[in-house]
C-alpha cells in the first residue's frame, strides 16, 4: 500500500543522493588519501588517531571526491569499497525517481530477501576493502 511515508522516503533518498554528490564535487580531495571530510568541519578519524591504522571508512570521502571527477583509479586507491558506494549513491537517483513516478513503496526493496543478501555481500566487500587499505598502509605508509 503506497502512502505518504513511502513518498517522503523516496524524496528523501533523491535529495540525499544529490546532496552527497554535490558536496563530493565541492570538496577538494586530500593528497594523502584520507581526511577530506575535515573540510566540512567533521573530526578526523578517531580510530586512526588511537590505533595509527586506517578504519574501514578511511578515504571514503576522498574516494567520492575523486570519483565525481572521474578519476576512478585514484578513487579506488583511496577506498576500494567507495567505488561501490559511489555507484550505489548515483543509482539512488534514478531508483528514487522510479519509485516516485510509479508509486512503488521502498518496502518492496527492503523487505525482499535479496536486500539482506546484498547487505551481506556489501559488508564482506567492505571488510575486504579494509584489508586492502591495511596492506597499502603498511607498505606505502598512507
Amino acid at each position: 500500500m503506497y502512502d505518504r511515508t513511502d513518498k517522503l522516503v523516496a524524496i528523501g533518498l533523491l535529495v540525499s543522493a544529490c546532496t552527497i554528490l554535490a558536496v563530493a564535487g565541492w570538496l577538494k580531495p586530500a593528497a594523502c588519501g584520507y581526511g577530506t571530510h575535515t573540510q566540512l568541519g567533521l573530526p578526523p578519524c578517531s580510530f586512526l588517531r588511537w590505533t595509527h591504522l586506517p578504519c574501514p571508512s578511511c578515504g571514503l570521502t576522498t574516494c567520492f571526491a575523486w570519483a565525481i571527477r572521474l578519476h576512478l583509479w585514484k578513487a579506488f586507491l583511496a577506498n576500494p569499497f567507495g567505488i561501490l558506494a559511489f555507484l550505489g549513491t548515483v543509482s539512488l537517483i534514478p531508483v528514487s525517481i522510479f519509485l516516485l513516478t510509479r508509486h512503488i513503496s521502498f518496502r518492496t526493496i527492503t523487505e525482499s530477501v535479496h536486500f539482506s543478501k546484498a547487505i551481506y555481500a556489501a559488508t564482506a566487500l567492505y571488510l575486504l576493502s579494509w584489508i586492502f587499505k591495511l596492506a597499502a598502509f603498511q607498505f606505502v605508509g598512507h
Partner: protein, 162 residues
C-alpha cells in the same frame, strides 16, 4: 500411534500433525506409515498408483517462513536460534560503535528490524526476539553516539574541541 518425526529438523510432533510445529515443514506424507521415511530417504519408494493419497486436513499456510538454508535448528524443540540477519546486525553494530558510524549502523538497523518484523508477524517463531531487539538497539545507540561525538567536536555542548 507413534509421534511423527520431522524429516527436516528432527523435531517430534503429535500424530496426525499436518505441519511441523518447529519449522513448518509439511508432514502430510508421514501420516500414512509408521515410519518417518520421506521421499529424500534412501529406502523410500513411490506409492502404487491405486493407493489412495492421505488426506491433507487443511492447506499449507501461504506466508510460511521456513528457516533459511544453512540455519542450525536446535535439537530441543521450542528452543530459539539467533537469525542470520540478527547475527550480521550485531557485527555491523559493533563496527558502527568503534569506527564506521552510520555506514554500518543503518544497514544493521534494517537487518535487525527485518527479523523483528518476521517474529512479530509469527512467520519465524524459531528466532530469538531478544537478540533481534538487542541488535536493533545496539545499532541505534551506535548512531546516537556517532552524532553525539560530532556535536561534542563542534563544541555544541559547551565542552570544547578534543
Amino acid at each position: 500411534m507413534n509421534d511423527v518425526r520431522c524429516p527436516r529438523c528432527g523435531g517430534t510432533n503429535p500424530p496426525n500433525s499436518a505441519f511441523c510445529g518447529i519449522c513448518g515443514t509439511p508432514l502430510a506424507a508421514q501420516q500414512s506409515g509408521a515410519s518417518a521415511d520421506s521421499p529424500s530417504s534412501p529406502g523410500w519408494q513411490q506409492p502404487a498408483a491405486n493407493q489412495a493419497e492421505p488426506p491433507i486436513p487443511y492447506p499449507p499456510p501461504t506466508n510460511a517462513y521456513p528457516p533459511p538454508a544453512g540455519v542450525f535448528l536446535p535439537p530441543v524443540p521450542g528452543a530459539k536460534v539467533v537469525g542470520d540477519n540478527t547475527k550480521w546486525a550485531v557485527g555491523l553494530g559493533i563496527g558502527a560503535l568503534f569506527c564506521c558510524g552510520p555506514l554500518t549502523g543503518v544497514p544493521g538497523i534494517f537487518l535487525a528490524k527485518k527479523d523483528m518484523d518476521e517474529i512479530a508477524a509469527g512467520r519465524a517463531p524459531h528466532l530469538d526476539e531478544g537478540w533481534a531487539k538487542g541488535a536493533y538497539y545496539l545499532n541505534i545507540i551506535a548512531l546516537v553516539l556517532f552524532v553525539l561525538g560530532i556535536c561534542l567536536f563542534w563544541g555544541r555542548l559547551g565542552l570544547g574541541r578534543f
